[in-house]
């Protein structure tokens, strides 16, 4: 997977434990188009606290152009922002 680190817009859902899970996200491509991507499955998620900044990292399966790929999404708990970390 290649590191992208692109901020994205996200629609998510909260599970019974109160953990926010990604559903669909939208990002601006290099051609300045808005592309919506559906998250098919969240494989696992881990917590990190680099520099004391609590982040949750999700490894998911998404479908891009009909091809299923795995990607890594990160959620910054303090700012509530999402980034597409790797795809």
């Amino acid at each position: 997977m290649k590191v992208i680190m692109e901020p994205i817009e996200m629609i998510g859902w909260f599970n019974l434990k109160g953990v926010l899970m990604p559903l669909r996200f939208r990002l601006e491509t290099k051609e300045h188009e808005l592309k919506t991507v559906k998250v098919n499955k969240v494989l696992y998620h881990t917590e990190e606290k680099i520099a004391g900044n609590p982040m949750r990292s999700y490894t998911c399966l998404v479908a891009i152009n009909g091809v299923e790929k795995s990607c890594e999404l990160k959620y910054e708990l303090n700012t509530c922002k999402w980034i597409l970390f790797k795809i």
Binding site: K49, I50, A51, G52, N53
Partner: protein, 416 residues
Amino acid sequence: MEHTIFHIDVNSAYLSWEATYRMSTQISCIDLRTIPAIIGGDESKRHGIVLAKSIPAKKYGIKTGESLFSARQKCPSLVIVPPNYKLFMQCSDAMVDIFKEYFPLVERYSVDECFLDYTNMSHHFGSPISFAHHLKDKIQKELGFTVNIGISNNKLLAKMASDFEKPNKIHTLFPNEIQEKMWPLPVRDLFMVGRATNAKLIKLGIYTIGELANSDPELLYAHFKSHGYLIHAYANGIATSIVKPCSPEAKGIGNSTTISFDVTDSRTAKLILLSLTETVCMRLRDSDMLAKMVSVSIKSHDFISLSHQMQLAESTDITNDIYKAICTLFDEAWNKEPIRHLGVRVSSLSSKTNTQLSLFDFDKHEKNTALDESIDKIRLRYGNTAIIRASFLHSGLRPLNGGMPEENYPIMSSLL
């Protein structure tokens, strides 16, 4: 019983924390720790000094505390980053949280240093050195920055040990290692030996910590009074303080500020003193103490400092009374030179709970106390600038001055 004390010190704290934060949130960014870089204050407000430096910056001879101007002269391509106190507090809290996973008592000595008591923990977590390695690696893996750990049987030696070779190292300094590891060091490196003590010791022909340890304590007393006994004991590795989670009771409360322009008229100076007095008195009332000694300090634009103090008729915590005394002191002490830095300090603190009421000015005393209480309540609820002194309106000056940009920021004390 033999104690085992750890001292943990983050390597180039401010700089490492900023570097780690940038690496985790920005793509393709340079690690500040690998280039000549410093964390520096705001030069436009004349707070421009080096707060932290990277190891490459150290090679250019840049020292912590020197002005940004001279730092730039030593290294023109230096990268200067402003401090982000909220981030530093966050990193410090995260580190203390890791310590709290293992230790019930964590003494937070400053924002980047902690003392831990490892006595009797060996049967839980293994030998001190192996646990120290585990702790250091865990901090690096989970938080992304490196620390030095010093191990000994008291806080002083542990603190001295963590200052040996950096970064990312574990050092021990038990009493049997003092002669080999600590005594060859220059006397300036000993904790509590500062610029003035160092100069005096050099004049006495004492250059290393070993020479200090072996000199006559009575000779040291003759030159330094009780401080001489202290540094003699420290040079021999004798210190008796224990790891405690709360800071010692304050002997005085003060706030000071460097002003971004040279103050030349008395009215402006007194306004700034008022803003400092407001902050100091808020802290005084918050700690439930009364003060009897008041002091003002003035630093002129050519860095000459002077201070003047007086004792009040009664111990008080009323802003107006203390401010009146500060103004008197200022008028007596100021030599009309342009001012760069002002400070207000109260000392001779006593508890508020059992006080002697005065026979004089009883009504005004009650009224002023109630006024201060109301102002404190409003500020606590709605913010510090929700209510301010009218003289600050349209003055361009901050109504409350002094202190750190972040609340509850742990400042290093000189007491171990």
